[in-house]
């Protein structure tokens, strides 16, 4: 270690290998493609992670290259701004030739191939300061070396020493926070610090199995940023559908259904369905009851043309069931419910659900619906205001089934299984009375399931 006077040291430290000008305009450095091993001389550039004008930090990924079944991530040796990419995608790059040009300030943060530390001359001074992105950072050479060997940028560590000096403990805390303390401290004796107390605790048997608490001395900074992205694909189509839907004048009608008897009935029928390989939920009953109701009020199963000049009464009851999938809300429908038994509906529903969760529903399953039920209650909620799906004219949203106290015919309180239904209908062709009567009919089928037997076809 040679001895320098203070002024000479400062000069030397900041201009180690290059002459840098005073402030903003850094040096353009040609970052060459380093040796990859196995005697490889050329690679293909497969992906750029940066573009011209981007700023990079030391160790950020710059690009991905491939050579003979090996994919190599090339990382930056400097902090700076990318000024030039020497290759386009799929071009051959040569080892030893420039890969990118980086404009960088004084090269104090350069990582050489072997991650060499500072020259001994600098460590004469007890405290070295460093311009890092405009902030002076105090740290001893030993601490700076520890940071270098563990790929840490001093600018990211909060110093807890005097004058915000960065101590060995600060580096270790930072490390522990980053990767759960996987990277061990350097083996050199002058650098092995006393381990922070929290790290030695788990070695004692009494702390077996507990997570290591890591003290955080960093002030809480919210680094979130707004993110804007285009609305594409299915979501774009939904925007169009919903915009068209809200042109329809909606009116709502809600009611409460006592499903006590249906709950009991389903319990009886569930094992029978199971034997036939079908999972029986409440939906098949709701769907069949809706179809029976539609036979009396066919206007709810109709469609109007664009200017509401013609109304088409659909013969088939293709009842849609709203499904929440990875894509978003999709509505497959059960075809011709008017000729299906409750069991057949349950079977078909199982098929649609399985395909839906696998993302394998076909266009046939997703089109041709005439009336829709949305069982939002499986997720939660009681009342809703569903939006009609064109070209349909009505929709029902089913809330969750709750156990609530109600009065029976004798004035006694009993436990009732209550579900709320919220209907929306196209007020241009459907009036409140029609909706109410349909709802009452649907409700009566579900409140006394035996009555469904009378009208089943």
């Amino acid at each position: 270690m040679s001895i320098f006077d203070k002024s000479a040291f400062k000069f030397n430290h900041q201009h180690r290998l290059f002459r840098t000008s005073a402030i903003s305009n850094g040096q353009i450095v040609q970052f060459k493609l380093s040796d990859i091993g196995e005697g490889i001389t050329e690679v293909t550039v497969k992906e750029w992670y940066v573009k011209e004008g981007d700023s990079v930090s030391q160790f950020d990924s710059i690009c991905e290259v491939q050579s003979d079944k090996a994919s190599v991530t090339i990382t930056s040796r400097y902090d700076g701004i990318i000024r030039k990419l020497h290759y386009n995608l799929d071009e051959i790059a040569f080892v030893g030739k420039p890969l990118v040009d980086i404009e960088t300030d004084a090269l104090k943060d350069v990582a050489s191939e072997e991650d060499v530390v500072e020259t001994p001359a600098v460590s004469h001074e007890e405290h070295t300061h460093q311009e890092i992105k405009g902030h002076k950072t105090l740290a001893t050479p030993a601490v700076r070396r520890l940071a270098m060997e563990n790929n840490i940028k001093l600018s990211e560590v909060v110093g807890t020493g005097k004058d915000n000096r960065i101590l060995k403990e600060d580096i270790l805390n930072y490390l522990a926070k980053q990767t759960g303390a996987i990277l061990p401290p350097s083996p050199k004796p002058e650098i092995i610090p006393p381990l922070p107390k929290s790290e030695t605790a788990p070695a004692a048997p009494k702390d077996k199995g507990t997570k290591i608490p890591i003290p955080i001395s960093k002030p809480i900074v919210f680094a979130g940023k707004d993110k804007t992205e285009a609305v594409t694909g299915f979501h774009k189509a939904m925007v169009k559908t919903m915009t068209a839907a809200l042109k329809i004048p909606h009116f709502g009608y809600c009611d409460e259904i006592d499903l006590t008897q249906l709950v009991q009935l389903r319990e009886e029928l569930k094992p029978l369905a199971q034997v036939r390989g079908v999972k029986l939920s409440f939906m098949p009953f709701f769907i069949k009851a809706a179809s029976l109701g539609l036979m009396h009020y066919p206007i709810l199963n109709a469609s109007v043309d664009e200017n509401c000049q013609n109304i088409t009464y659909k013969a088939s009851h293709n009842i849609g069931v709203a499904m929440d999938t990875e894509q978003g809300l999709i509505v497959p429908n059960v075809k011709n419910v008017q000729v299906c038994s409750v069991f057949e509906i349950a079977f078909e529903l199982n098929r649609l659900l399985t395909l839906g969760s696998a993302g394998q529903l076909g266009t046939n399953d997703l089109t041709g619906g005439t009336f829709t039920l949305s069982n939002i209650g499986t997720i939660g909620g009681t009342y809703a205001k569903p939006v009609i799906l064109p070209p349909e004219v009505a929709i029902g949203a089913l809330g969750k089934i709750q156990v609530l106290p109600r009065f029976n015919g004798n004035g006694e309180v009993f436990k009732a299984q209550i579900m709320n239904v919220s209907w929306s209908a196209d007020h241009r062709i459907i009036d409140g009375a029609t909706m109410a009567r349909f709802s009452n009919l649907w409700k009566s089928y579900l409140e006394s399931p035996a009555s469904m037997l009378l009208d089943l076809k």
Partner: protein, 373 residues
């Protein structure tokens, strides 16, 4: 630092992974042999990521043994549409994964063993690793005719490929992994690795198809357990470490902090499909509509797995041009994916003129366009 024997296995491994090179007596210092208890490809690939990103391999090397349930694994820069039959895979529930290393496409099932050799970047030497595997196999069955080629494949009887290789190099760490066919389903392998998609133009790394064979077919007494053990023993011998295989659970956050995020990332659509290099599909197909044959020409450009350019050429006036335009316009920006396209096309039908003929033509067209995906 002495490890108390009372510590649970998981915590013990955590410390073994943590320990610095100097001053530790156990041979885990010089090398480690790990074996995964999971057959989930994403979890196992995440282990590789984790070791690559977190372990200090300065003076230590690691061998990782793993097997997967039926999966097709494509290389970092490959195009799944070009490499495999996605339709069969969807039907048979065979997963698709993209690994971070280069190279070609392989089929994994529980009859295939994967070996990953982790070394410091300076000690990256694939041929040495393959020679180790060959030596282990010959140690088990001296008459076995296995050798490594200069393309880093292992050939059985001079003709049949039983192992393929790929590698990933980072800043300080490198890993080389290879497969080994012991008793894999060869017929499923060949049907799944044949792409049905025509007209693809792409700069993605292509795979080289090869004749394959299982070790089991050569010698039915060879099991995957024997092979894994033999390679581990040879590795232990070469690196002068204990022949001790440590079982690891890739879902254990206490041993591998942060690994579940890596597993999740490997399962995202953006990684698996979105990382496909730009490509285009230019092809034509025939549709039958009410006894007439129609020719449709399609030109679709896909970037980051999403449709960038979409041109569909239909016979004159078969479908109102406005409708065809609507489909093309909405497909742009959409994922090149059948379920997304189906959902999109069905939603759009709701706001089209309600006409049975138009609807059935539209559905027919969309179903056919989806067969390209």
């Amino acid at each position: 630092m002495v490890i108390p024997s009372s510590l649970k296995n998981g915590l013990r491994l955590f410390y073994v992974l943590k320990i610095s090179a100097a001053g530790f007596k156990c041979t885990a210092n010089r090398g480690l042999i790990l074996q995964s208890v999971s057959s989930d490809v994403y979890q196992n690939l995440a282990v590789e990521d984790w070791i690559h990103d977190n372990m200090n391999l300065e003076n230590r090397q690691v061998l990782f043994l793993w097997r997967n349930s039926p999966t097709v694994v494509i290389g970092r820069h490959q195009n799944p549409w070009q490499e495999c039959n996605l339709k069969i895979m969807r039907k048979k529930n065979i997963k698709l994964a993209r690994r971070r290393s280069g190279g070609g496409t392989v089929y994994h099932d529980l009859g295939n063993i994967n070996f990953t050799f982790f070394t410091p970047k300076k000690k990256y030497e694939r041929m040495e690793n393959l020679k180790l595997v060959v030596k282990a196999l010959k140690g088990l069955r001296p008459q076995l005719d296995v050798h490594a080629t200069d393309r880093y494949d292992l050939l059985l009887d001079g003709n049949f490929k039983i192992s393929g290789t790929a590698a990933k190099l980072g800043r300080t760490v490198a890993y080389h992994h290879c497969t080994l066919l012991c008793s894999a389903d060869r017929f499923l392998l060949s049907s799944v690795l044949k792409s049905p998609y025509k007209g693809i133009k792409s700069n993605a790394t292509p795979s080289m198809p090869a004749l394959v064979k299982n070790l089991f077919e050569e010698d039915p007494t060879l099991t995957y357990e024997m092979v894994m053990d033999a390679v581990a023993a040879e590795y232990a011998r070469c690196h002068q470490i204990d022949h001790h295989i440590t079982l690891i659970n890739p879902a254990d956050e206490t041993v591998f902090p942060g690994i579940n995020n890596k597993t999740k990332e490997l399962q995202t659509w953006e990684w698996i499909y979105g990382k496909t290099p730009k490509f285009s599909i230019t092809t034509c197909f025939n549709m039958v509509y009410e006894q007439s044959l129609l020719e449709v020409k399609v030109d679709i450009h896909v970037k980051h797995g999403r449709i960038e350019v979409c041109n569909i050429d239909l016979p004159e006036q078969w479908l109102p041009p406005a409708m065809c335009n609507e489909l093309e316009k909405n497909l742009i920006g959409s994922k090149f994916c059948p379920s997304e396209t189906t959902a999109l096309a069905s939603a759009l039908l709701r706001i089209c003129p309600q006409n049975y003929e138009l609807h059935s033509k539209w559905s027919l067209l969309c179903e056919n366009v989806m067969t390209l995906m």
